[in-house]
Structures are given as structure tokens and as C-alpha cells.
């Protein structure tokens, strides 16, 4: 845990609400975007993010600090989001990783996504078609794969932190990340290939080729 977080947690524990607000402002976007990725609904995501920070505040005295404060927040947020999905009567997809992957299909894809994307995707392009492509692909992943991808690729959690945040052994972190990436890359490559024949294409090209 960073020294700044440790100090803010210590002050918040003593009842300093300004210190807790500083923690909220530091992590609100990250907690919210994890919740939104899992729930796909802005209001639900905001509710879960609120509950996450409330629960964390109420549990400050039990927070040991062996992991980062954000690792602890993600753990609470992930559990609350999964609970909400279940309460809504939706199924949380729990299929076993090993069954998801066709090894030969995955091998055929190696390097293809990077080639299809060509150059750094421009932010403007992302907001349009590629953004939709990405959302469609993400929506096809089980929640556990979405969560681990976001926590690793966006939040930069280490394998040890992922193990704590998702309450899974480190070996499961490795295999889950592997399958999440493989499936995501396969879905994206498929979508991008369907959109534009012939390689290499960059993102701008892929977007421009659509009518």
C-alpha cells in the first residue's frame, strides 16, 4: 500500500472524513468502471460503487493493510456486483476455463489482433465503431473474465493482488487471465476480420471501410 493511502486510511479510521473523501476521490472512477464493466448499467454501477465505499468505511477498523486499499475496494466491489447480478435473477457464468478454449483456433490467432489494429487506436475511433466492437466482445465473456482483464490491464494489479481481490489462488489467476485474453483476442479478431478483409488494417481503416 502506498504511504499516502496508508496515512489517509489511518486518519479516516480515526474519524477524519476529509481523509476518507480523499480516498473516495482517488478511487471512485476505478471502482465505478469495474462495476460498470460487470453490470453494464450506469445506475447499477453507481449504486454498487456507493455501497463499496460505504462498506469499506464501516469496515476500516478491520482493514489490516496487508494488501493495497484499492485491492480491498475491488474485492468488495466485485463481490457486490456479482451479488447484484444474482439478486436480479441473472446467471453468473461459471464455466470452467479449460473447456472454453480450442487450442488450435487460439494458435491460429497469434499476432492477428495486433496486426488488425495496426497502429495505436485513436481515441476518437474508439468512441465509435471499435468501442462497440469491444463492448460486444466483452459482453460475451463471463463476468470473472471481464473482472480479471480490467483489474490486470487497466488497474495494473499484480498476480498477488489479483489473487486477493478475486479470492482465487495464484495458479487460477494465471489460467484465468490466459483464457480471458485468448477468448477476447479471438472474439475481437473475428469481429475486426469480418469488418475488413485483407491485412494489415489499422483502426481508422477498419472504421472507414464500413458503409
Amino acid at each position: 500500500m502506498s504511504d499516502a493511502d496508508r496515512e489517509l486510511v489511518r486518519r479516516a479510521r480515526e474519524g477524519d472524513q476529509a481523509a476518507y473523501r480523499a480516498l473516495v476521490e482517488r478511487y471512485q472512477r476505478r471502482v465505478f468502471s469495474l462495476a460498470l464493466t460487470l453490470l453494464k448499467d450506469r445506475d447499477d454501477a453507481a449504486d454498487v460503487a456507493q455501497e463499496t465505499f460505504l462498506k469499506a468505511y464501516q469496515g476500516l477498523s478491520s482493514f489490516k493493510g496487508e494488501a493495497g486499499f484499492y485491492t480491498w475496494l475491488y474485492r468488495i466491489a466485485n463481490n457486490l456486483a456479482i451479488d447484484l447480478i444474482r439478486r436480479r435473477g441473472h446467471t453468473v457464468r461459471e464455466e470452467i476455463d479449460e473447456e472454453l478454449l480450442d487450442p488450435e483456433a487460439a494458435q491460429a490467432c497469434e499476432g492477428l489482433l495486433a496486426t488488425r489494429l495496426g497502429v495505436d487506436p485513436a481515441e476518437e475511433a474508439m468512441r465509435h465503431e471499435l468501442g462497440e466492437t469491444l463492448e460486444r466482445a466483452l459482453a460475451e465473456l463471463p463476468e470473472k473474465h471481464r473482472a480479471i482483464l480490467i483489474l490486470r490491464e487497466v488497474e495494473g494489479l499484480s498476480y498477488e493482488e489479483l489473487s486477493l481481490a478475486l479470492d482465487i489462488p495464484k495458479g487460477t489467476v494465471m489460467s484465468r487471465l490466459f483464457h480471458a485474453r485468448a477468448k477476447m483476442q479471438r472474439l475481437l479478431t473475428g469481429e475486426l476480420s469480418a469488418g475488413a478483409e485483407g491485412a494489415p488494417v489499422n483502426v481508422a481503416g477498419a472504421v472507414a471501410s464500413k458503409p
Partner: protein
């Protein structure tokens, strides 16, 4: 159980390398392998591409956070700064012993005050009556007191063995 890449390497190795999870020696060995293995390089580049996409997406997601999120949350937090006596009330658990003692003292007073008052009235009686009365009371008092304690349990608290037994 272990997945092999086309080059024979454990396929999670590429990602462990990319995610900074390989120990120094393994990292260097892998870097040596990477130079001659297009398959691992491709997987690595795919990982980078996917990471870039997800980060750009996340920047856009963050924009959807309600603007008053922090203010809303702060309004929902239990109050922290309170005057001393309310803090004492609020921290019931940490002062549990104090409260239990206070309740015990109050209960003892409720029992003893009528006795003392009664004793005062008795003291004002005649000497002959007083002596006899005191002796009688000493004989009567002991069986009365133990009855005071079982009463709340027996009369007001339903026994755990009989919930709904009357119906």
C-alpha cells in the same frame, strides 16, 4: 493441464513475462527465446493491443461517473465528529462494561430503596414491635429475594424450548 504454445513453451509464460511475474532468471531466458519465436512475439503484441484497447475504453467509462458521486457518498457516511457524551452513547460496545454496571446499580437501587424506606418505617415503630418485626423480617426476607431474580426469566422471557408451543 499445462498448455503448450506451438514453440513448446507453457503458454502462460508469455503473459507472466508481460505482467512482470517471471523471476529475473526466467525473464532473461524468455527474452532470449522471444527473439527467435514469432508465435510468442505475436501473443505478446496481441496482449499489448488488447491492453491499449481496454485502457482507452476505461478512460471513456470513467466519464460516466455521476459528478456528485463523492458528495453523495459523504452524506451517507455515519457522523464522525460528535460531542463527548453522544460519542460515549455511540461507542456502546467499547463501553459495554460501564453500561452494564450502570444498569446493575440502577436495578440494585430499585430493589434496595423500597427496602430501606420500609426499614425506616419499621424503625419508627415501638421497641417491642420493632424487635419482633425485625426478627420476623429476617426470617421472611431470605426466601423473598431469590424469587426476584428468576421472575424476569420465568415470566417475561419465553423459554427457548417452547416457541409457538401454545398454538
Amino acid at each position: 493441464m499445462t498448455h503448450r504454445a506451438s514453440c513448446g513453451l507453457d503458454r502462460t509464460a508469455v503473459y507472466r513475462y508481460r505482467d512482470g511475474d517471471l523471476p529475473e532468471a526466467e525473464r532473461r531466458t524468455f527474452e532470449g527465446h522471444l527473439g527467435g519465436c514469432a508465435s510468442c512475439r505475436g501473443r505478446l503484441e496481441d496482449g499489448d493491443a488488447l491492453g491499449r484497447l481496454l485502457r482507452i475504453r476505461d478512460d471513456a467509462l470513467g466519464e460516466e461517473l455521476p459528478k456528485d458521486f463523492a458528495a453523495q457518498l459523504m452524506a451517507r457516511l455515519p457522523a464522525a465528529k460528535r460531542p463527548g457524551w453522544t460519542r460515549l452513547l455511540g461507542s456502546w460496545h467499547s463501553h459495554r462494561l460501564l453500561w452494564v454496571s450502570a444498569v446493575a446499580v440502577a436495578a440494585a437501587l430499585a430493589v434496595l430503596v423500597p427496602l430501606v424506606v420500609r426499614q425506616g418505617a419499621i424503625d419508627r415503630r415501638s421497641a417491642a414491635e420493632n424487635e419482633a418485626g425485625l426478627r420476623r423480617r429476617e426470617l421472611v426476607a431470605p426466601p423473598v429475594r431469590p424469587q426476584l431474580r428468576p421472575r424476569p426469566q420465568g415470566m417475561f422471557m419465553p423459554s427457548p424450548a417452547r416457541p409457538g408451543a401454545g398454538r
